[in-house]
Symmetry: C2
Amino acid sequence: MQSSLLNGEIAKIAKAAREASRVLATLSSENKNRALLRMSDELIQEKETLILENRKDLEYAGAKGLSDAFLDRLTLSESRIHEMASGLKDIAKLPDPVGVVTKMWRRPNNLSVGKVRIPLGVVGIIYESRPNVTADAAGLCLKAGNAVILRGGSESIHSNQAIARIIKKAGSEFDIPQGAIQMIPTTRREAINEMLKMDEYIDLIIPRGGESLIRFVVANSRIPVIKHYKGVCHIYVDAGADMAMAEKICLNAKVQRPGVCNAVETLLVHQDIAQQFLPSAIKKLQAARVEVRGCKTTCHIVSEIAFADEDDWYTEYLDLILSIRVVGGVEEAMDHISQYGSQHTEAIITSSYDNSRKFLNGVNSSVVIVNASTRFSDGHQLGLGAEIGISTTKLHAFGPMGVEDLTTTKFIIYGEGQIRQ
Amino acid sequence: MQSSLLNGEIAKIAKAAREASRVLATLSSENKNRALLRMSDELIQEKETLILENRKDLEYAGAKGLSDAFLDRLTLSESRIHEMASGLKDIAKLPDPVGVVTKMWRRPNNLSVGKVRIPLGVVGIIYESRPNVTADAAGLCLKAGNAVILRGGSESIHSNQAIARIIKKAGSEFDIPQGAIQMIPTTRREAINEMLKMDEYIDLIIPRGGESLIRFVVANSRIPVIKHYKGVCHIYVDAGADMAMAEKICLNAKVQRPGVCNAVETLLVHQDIAQQFLPSAIKKLQAARVEVRGCKTTCHIVSEIAFADEDDWYTEYLDLILSIRVVGGVEEAMDHISQYGSQHTEAIITSSYDNSRKFLNGVNSSVVIVNASTRFSDGHQLGLGAEIGISTTKLHAFGPMGVEDLTTTKFIIYGEGQIRQ
């Protein structure tokens, strides 16, 4: 398993993480929480250092001619450092998932059988250039008793290393082993390939970033991967829906923050109310600078909007663009979602009890909503505490993932000498 | 995504399964249970056909010179057909996991958020030449609302196809779509490779068979895989343990059925009781035709046994062989398990409260047992009902897997017009 590339450095890191994970698994909640609070304090204490290190990354990225949006995500301002620090405080406040007995039952032969939450072990996070992920991911993994191996975007390496150094130092004061939080110290792409082969030491890979990064990870990993490619979220406005509510929710889901995965991309409207609903809704969307693309019927009802082609229905715009299709009813809406959707988040706006049931039962996306904005599909909003990611594959976790999703359960059996007959 | 090999036949099967899975997801428990009972009855009705088809497989395998053990696993006797049939009846009796709301809570903004069990979708089972797996796996997948694609060993193809034909026909009388249970109709190996690329249509692959089959599947799959490579199970006999109980459990765990993954392979014995425990225990093991291999200390205490080398500690014998090591205490036993174990099943025999706690908390195998045989690490024995497999990777399921592990949960949200602020 020793790697020849990179002098086996990645294997050394992974092995050290595996060893640290054994210590972490038995650490008390109090130790972990005190470490998280100290990490939070130290990030604030060291904010000047962080800003200086971040400036190096910004200069490099600026010289490379990267976009303003990219530079914005990369920037560690004083307020962002405070957000990171308060994120760690919030994680300290969450209940510790480790050691919780989720079930316990007695067998006819008097064995007591239970399931108890344990850490996954070692989690690898591969992310793009948002330095705050470093602290968030390390904090969540620590809370769940996991060692973490971080591999951030190459443009943020100075910021990431500074954050990791600060939180590791803080953690070491509370028995957090050195191997528990590790940053891959190179920007070479082969480091990722090496990491993805370490299935002997790493239990889970979470890639966070663009679709091409995620597809690369899935294609090359021997380690289980939890990921989502994209969020093509739908809202279906049913006949008989409260029009004012529908309009308000559609606007919120599209414009409140268009660049995120739980923003709506396609609006499906029942044919019986299209004539009544669409002109006003589209006017308000356009007033909010949304570009609307419609199906034939939509374009017939509201002229002067662009025609949506087949590709539009598959597209996650991540921008102020919305496609609209008029459908025959809830079944047709569900068929559309099944064909073009990404199993992320879908909402129905309805006043029909039957249709709410049909939609809730029939749509197998990770989050299915009645009469609320798709923007609630988020760990914080759902009450999971901080979010480590979101999964649109159904194994292990489906939907927004909180700290509990960084654990698994083992069986425990209490006996008094029982043997198999 | 269309495959060029095999004329795209595997893609067609996978796509049909995906379509069937949408129907299955909303089928009532009653429909599913009635279908399972009819399948059970039909297997008995058609037992002559099954025995005739099985004879073709046995002749082929016999001509190929396969081992007696292999031929035994392949054989469909009348009693095995009755077992298969009663297995389906048992599955019908299990509670339906689909639609169960596992949690529901209210958010400060009055949204009701819940998690509800849904089928995984499409499950692929790749197994070796045990025809009964065909009925078991199809029954469990159906119960959990999943479509199943079966790829059995090439030597059992006539038996498997006959079983699949019978249960499909029975299912079709109760609205089970044709695509819900499908058998890959070729013994060509490329069919497996094709199947493992169908991540667009298949949600989970469960390989059942030898380690080389499983490693092949893991290395080639883009679809999540749940598997276990091997079961190197340990029993640690603590100082102060009830010696009679320890002896009885060790014997049971080794000899009651040595060829299975939850049989014990290595015995760890506290140094303070080795002198007292080992001579009698080894004598009884040898009387049961077990070959014992010992560490230096063990060989010193009981002469005339073979010396266990480094490889022994890693070995799943699946046979009447047991390695024995004398250790300094529970910590050293846990270190040994961590280094050489396979995270399957470990037991401690102890009368110490403290050591039972240490072992239960510190050993992160999928099943950890106090004072009972490792042979209880089994879905039936733990009360999960039938077992679809066992997982020693921690994602999604860890340990014996029942019908509930063939589901996932989605979030449902009930709102009254809420939007994100």
